[in-house]
Assembly symmetry: C2
Homo-oligomer: 300 residues x 2
């Protein structure tokens, strides 16, 4: 069974087209993780373990943001390696948010680093930036095809300032976002699973529901990774247009809204995990409820 | 003395507005570095040391491409840390080619990771991708201002396929590249050194000399990082328009043309270093000769 089909199966089993961001920010992590003289990266790893334990039966995937690990150099990347290994052991799919981009053998090095079999950083999905154009995406797509992996190409990001680049128009009148969507549609067939979905996906922000509807039609088979829910202002109604009528086709991310939902900085690890479970369940009910309300033909 | 002024001083002292790319590709590294059972990252570090020793008196800067280190996970990033430390000890400026981009506190994490004082990955300059728009560049510019560091924002990359994104036009008729150039011009004043140059710079490929001329006029104070010379097809005449008439304003990179210029895969380390010195000197003469030929008012 292909990666995309296994992910869709887990989404349906959990009734949760959701991933939880693993964005460790030292100032926001409860004090208990720094007890007993734990180093910064030790604290982050223990924190990540608790988040993973709390969510692994509730959602199909986690999304570490690699910048927060890179901040600690090689020790941070070692912590990241342990984190993704732990998430995989707990049955979670791992989506690395790295927005990598380059050309030629450099792009291939990034693709192999994050998606290549046996690489220390190997995960299931990677976010990719398209600033260097189509040819910069080819090495990533090639690795996806060869190794049954997935990518999410930035098409419409959740931030207001994206328009300077993403709304600019090509000679044929299509915006950069629309041009990328058409390119992804063309590529999606190559990595198509039995579920009818493709692991060549797109990042589409929850903050632009009208555009999400257009992009959904433009890339019917592609999986969308949807940032912007919760702390960034997107609600459940806003993410609904990112989905197809079967309730599939998108994975909505929440990071801060789940990780930092706890009430007391001096909570215990058990109390912290309880807050993560509660916030994740609330998000699941919010998203799933909106989907069921909008799509009578939902498959789960 | 500010970073940009110190760099310009070294460029003039070396008569070499040049940086050498540190892009270790295992298949291309001479066999001697793998002798005595050296691991892949040990081989890369020894290789990098020899390149650095060979070029440190000839050029002002090296440019490691971080993808080739990320490929080996945390061990690769540890090798990268040792490499940048060694380059700094040898008096070289370090430009990290990472093309990082994100928004908010994630962008800030990348900026602090690569440019923050005391970070394990701290270097002098970082390449930054602008796909998420102006607001995604602000955290990097803020760190440059606060810590006297520099960035090169991708404006016109050296690859043919860049046009899908970089040639798209905004509502005012300006292309994405032109819009970014205007933004950089506005920001450059904040990080201006006594030499009249700014550490808020741009990546402008050597493969588009006509556009380089236009972009040079649009961003008169910004330092350009110029890829595409040598192996990618750009010649010395093509990079001349990236410079101002004083012979400053650009740093031309060569990676493969220098690192893999050796004739015999089974050369000794001394023979390898000799080939690196010869290729670097040839590039210096090529670029410096073209600049002297074009700019009678060159300052060095």
């Amino acid at each position: 069974m292909m990666l995309i089909d296994r992910l869709n199966e887990r989404i349906m089993a959990c009734k949760a087209p959701i991933c939880v961001g693993l964005d460790p920010v030292l100032e926001s992590i409860p004090a208990v993780y720094f007890a007993d003289g734990a180093s910064e990266v030790e604290a982050i790893y223990a924190f990540n373990q608790d988040v993973i334990d709390a969510v692994c039966d509730l959602v199909p995937a986690v999304k570490p943001q690699i910048a927060f690990y890179e901040l600690f150099g090689s020790a941070g990347i070692a912590c990241y390696e342990r984190t993704i290994a732990y998430a995989k052991r707990k049955g979670l799919f791992v989506i690395t948010d790295a927005k990598r981009n380059d050309i030629g053998n450099t792009a291939m090095a990034y693709a192999k680093a994050h998606l290549g079999e046996g690489s220390p950083l190997e995960v299931d999905f990677l976010t990719v930036s398209p600033f260097l154009g189509e040819e910069s995406l080819v090495p990533f797509i090639d690795v996806c095809k060869a190794e049954d992996k997935g990518i999410f190409i930035l098409v419409r990001t959740s931030n207001a300032g994206n328009r300077m680049v993403q709304d600019a128009q090509n000679a044929n009148g299509c915006t950069v976002s629309e041009t990328l969507a058409e390119y992804i549609r063309q590529q999606a067939g190559a990595c198509l699973g039995e579920s009818g979905y493709s692991a060549i996906g797109a990042v589409v922000g929850a903050t632009y529901p009208q555009e999400a509807e257009t992009l959904r039609k433009a890339m019917p088979a592609s999986l969308f990774l949807v940032p912007g829910y919760g702390a960034q202002g997107g609600g459940a109604e806003d993410v609904v247009p990112c989905f197809n009528a079967d309730g599939l086709g998108a994975v909505v991310n929440s990071s801060r809204g789940i990780l930092y939902s706890y009430a007391d900085k001096h909570c215990s690890r058990e109390e912290y995990k309880t807050s993560v479970v509660a916030a994740t369940k609330a998000m699941q009910q919010d998203i799933y409820g909106a989907l069921r309300g909008s799509y009578p033909d939902i498959k789960y």
